[in-house]
Symmetry: C2
Subunit: 466 residues, 2 copies
């Protein structure tokens, strides 16, 4: 925690409500830190036996880093301590900017070494503008920021019910969280940060609502890590040490250096017209290299060789998102969703967690505002509802745009015309759109968002009061 | 012409080159005005017997209007004198802004009058931010700005060849325009403003280059004009008097008031999986109302009724564009393309001509800059080539993005899921993208573009000089 004690509240009467955060992923942890940093009473409930994120990397833009810092400077410190690395800091050049680069993954060019790949586009994200970290490292650093009484493990949420008292079952207004182990917790507001398979979402929208569940984007992703020297041999030093996205018909493959330049993380995205067999199991460890070899058989020999050095089986995941049935609202009364629970998206923008940080900063700022009401009632329920409604009003359009945009970017990376040399000028004209979409994510005016959120909150609250 | 005499050159030695503009459409006319306004020697060649545009309306954003004014204030005056009308000035409200509005053209809603249509989105274009004019009226006003010796009719371009002199056929560097009537004209630079079927484009790229020709976007458009009182009866007064775009599966229909509120111009866009039979004939007068009735049969009854009052046959055009084979460059040496000749697009942004005005302002500014070289050589060919190369560098990305975006917007307006009530939340989430795309067009920093163009010109010229 940052020692911003002037910011804190000492007596419970100045902290007039209790919040539960459901889900101990990156966003749930950061949300909890941010709330604690503002003296808000909060407890995080995680269903697992321990905080353990899958090991894949996630990237944060400069904007997302500033949101972390606003939540709590300690979060940004934890990020760097967890070994965060600017995606292209490793290029060995004196240029301090991070770049995303796109490369023609498919075509070879007459009169050139067939392994030569045409550079298509590069986009500067600025200094430390695109910084990757291992999820598990970052999560365990964030966990250290929480006091022991701020979280509980092995608390699998089963239901959220209204608390009642007395013989007539009069409602108190509080929410009772019912866990699978038979225990309960009673709070004033619930924040669901429980990810793509969110239970809070299902409870909020109902079991029969298609918006309660994510659907298959018809893309599967395969992940592998190879030694840097192998990557340099196949890709050349500059490409191996920086972020590159090799686009092609029906598939694209991207990679970036991790682990202090000793390893290269590779992700292959493959379009898949079929249905995903089991909606309960979205990841497996039996991805088949033979299948990838088939998919990439006609790609540039550099890519064919890159596939050839992958292990015979590798982790594979089905990419599901909330694009087909977007949520009608991110909140219902004093239950609200944030992060993937609200807007799970395909990962091709590399910015989903950052959008979740914007959510967290928005919600934390609004709840802080609720605490600061000059004469807070004992249970400021109208204010909490106004805060969540304001969050919904301010965030939903951007977040659902982001879900759509992640699908669109995937489509652009995998246009079938990448495989048709006569259409290269056409497909290359997509980068202006990719730039605009990236800039909309990266150069977000989060301060404007916070102002708008507070304004909306005040408007809603005065309307309720009137 | 504006009386900015200080701006003009009196002696030919200060006007060191001659330009031909090919094509007397709106952009060719505006380009010629803009060049004359800067004292540049120019003649416009039009293939038709008279300047006669098809009567359809075109709209200009506030940005496009400012470009007109920068070309020559007289162009903007001509625009208003031609009867230009802000698209929604007619709403009868005190709100001075122009709005584009989208309406659900398909669904009826349980518990409501089946004719009720859900408003989906509105976008303010600001005061006089989206202003429509009849093409023919505007063109004839622009023509009046040209002195009689600034244009020639019935000059159908057949070829552009290099001028040679002497027994050895030494090239002078000048370009000879060869017309179908056997006459020629010799100039130093050629600007092709000859529209979607541009001959200059074909001559520049070659007959066998697919980029020489537009291709079918698989959308056909039908146009009709109905009396305002009929429109009010069917649509209600507010809708009838303002711009509305009714979206639906596989088709959309838009309308706006024209002719001083007495008429409503209606355009229906219908997706068409087939091929267009005759690439030489993109328009016809035998569009069939019966076909439209079939296409719109399942739409909201308001739209079904609107179709029922159209004439039995109506003008129809195939929408072709340059998206499939975008140009590798907008210029070759001292021949350059602008407007639809360079980037013909589908009309659903309603902004194609405005993008052409940006082209014209960019080119005219660069050619003015060539005139202002402190010591212009007798024939400043390197400078002219640098000007055209700079135009290409500054304009091509934006213009080709616009062509793609026009297709994308059409797709969004005609998503098949507009017909599926369970998918309404999904399809409605497209408007954030439509807003971003519209704003990119409307809020263009044309002054930044001009600065960039001059900078690029100077860089290219100094490189050639070095």
């Amino acid at each position: 925690m940052s020692p911003d004690l002037g910011h804190k509240f000492e007596a419970d009467e100045l902290r007039p409500f209790e919040v539960a955060v459901i889900g101990g992923g990156i966003i749930g942890l950061a949300m909890t830190c941010g709330l604690l940093n503002r003296g808000i009473r909060v407890k995080l409930y995680e269903q697992a036996q321990a905080f353990g994120e899958v090991g894949a990397g996630i990237a944060f833009t400069a904007c997302a880093q500033r949101c972390m810092e606003q939540l709590d400077p300690a979060i940004l410190e934890a990020f760097w301590q967890a070994g965060a690395v600017p995606l292209s800091s490793s290029a060995g050049s004196t240029d301090p900017n991070d770049y995303l680069r796109w490369v023609d993954g498919f075509n070879s060019h007459p009169g050139r070494d067939p392994r030569w790949q045409e550079p298509l586009y590069e986009l500067s994200a600025g200094v430390k503008g695109f910084v990757a970290v291992r999820r598990d490292e970052f999560a365990s650093r964030l966990l250290k920021l929480l006091p022991a009484d701020a979280f509980e493990l092995q608390k699998r949420l089963e239901d959220i019910v209204d608390e009642t008292v007395g013989g007539h079952g009069e409602r108190t207004g509080r929410k009772v969280l019912v866990f699978a182990d038979g225990t309960t917790a009673t709070v004033d507001a619930v924040i669901g940060c429980d990810g793509i398979k969110s239970k809070v979402r299902e409870l909020m929208l109902g079991r029969d609502n298609p918006a309660s569940y994510p659907t298959y984007t018809h893309v599967a992703a395969y992940r592998a890590v190879i030694p840097m020297d192998t990557a340099i041999r196949l890709l050349g030093e500059r490409k191996a040490k920086t972020f590159n996205n090799h686009v092609g018909p029906g598939a694209n493959i991207l990679h970036y250096a991790i682990s202090n330049q000793t390893l290269v993380n590779i992700t292959a995205f493959v379009s898949d017209e079929g249905e995903w067999p089991d909606h309960h199991k979205l990841t497996s460890d039996d991805g088949s290299k033979a299948h990838l070899q088939e998919v990439f058989a006609r790609f540039n020999p550099t890519i064919v060789d890159l596939i050839s050095v992958l292990p015979e089986t590798l982790p594979k995941w089905a990419i599901f998102d909330l694009a087909e049935y977007p949520l009608p609202a991110f909140h219902s009364g004093r239950v609200v969703l944030a992060g993937d629970a609200a807007h799970a998206s395909a990962p091709q923008h590399g910015a989903g967690a950052g959008i979740g940080m914007e959510d967290a900063l928005c919600l934390v700022t609004l709840l802080d505002r609720v605490c600061r009401e000059t004469a807070p009632p004992e249970r400021p329920y109208a204010a909490l509802e106004a805060a969540f409604a304001s969050f919904d009003a301010v965030r939903r359009t951007r977040c659902q745009w982001f879900v759509n945009s992640s699908r669109r970017i995937t489509d652009l990376h995998q246009q079938h015309e990448w495989g048709d040399p006569a259409k290269l000028l056409k497909v290359r004209s997509c980068f202006e759109e990719i730039k605009d979409r990236s800039h909309k994510i990266w150069h977000f005016d989060y301060e404007g968002m916070l102002k708008e959120a507070i304004g909306k909150y005040e408007e809603l609250l005065s309307r309720r009061g009137a």
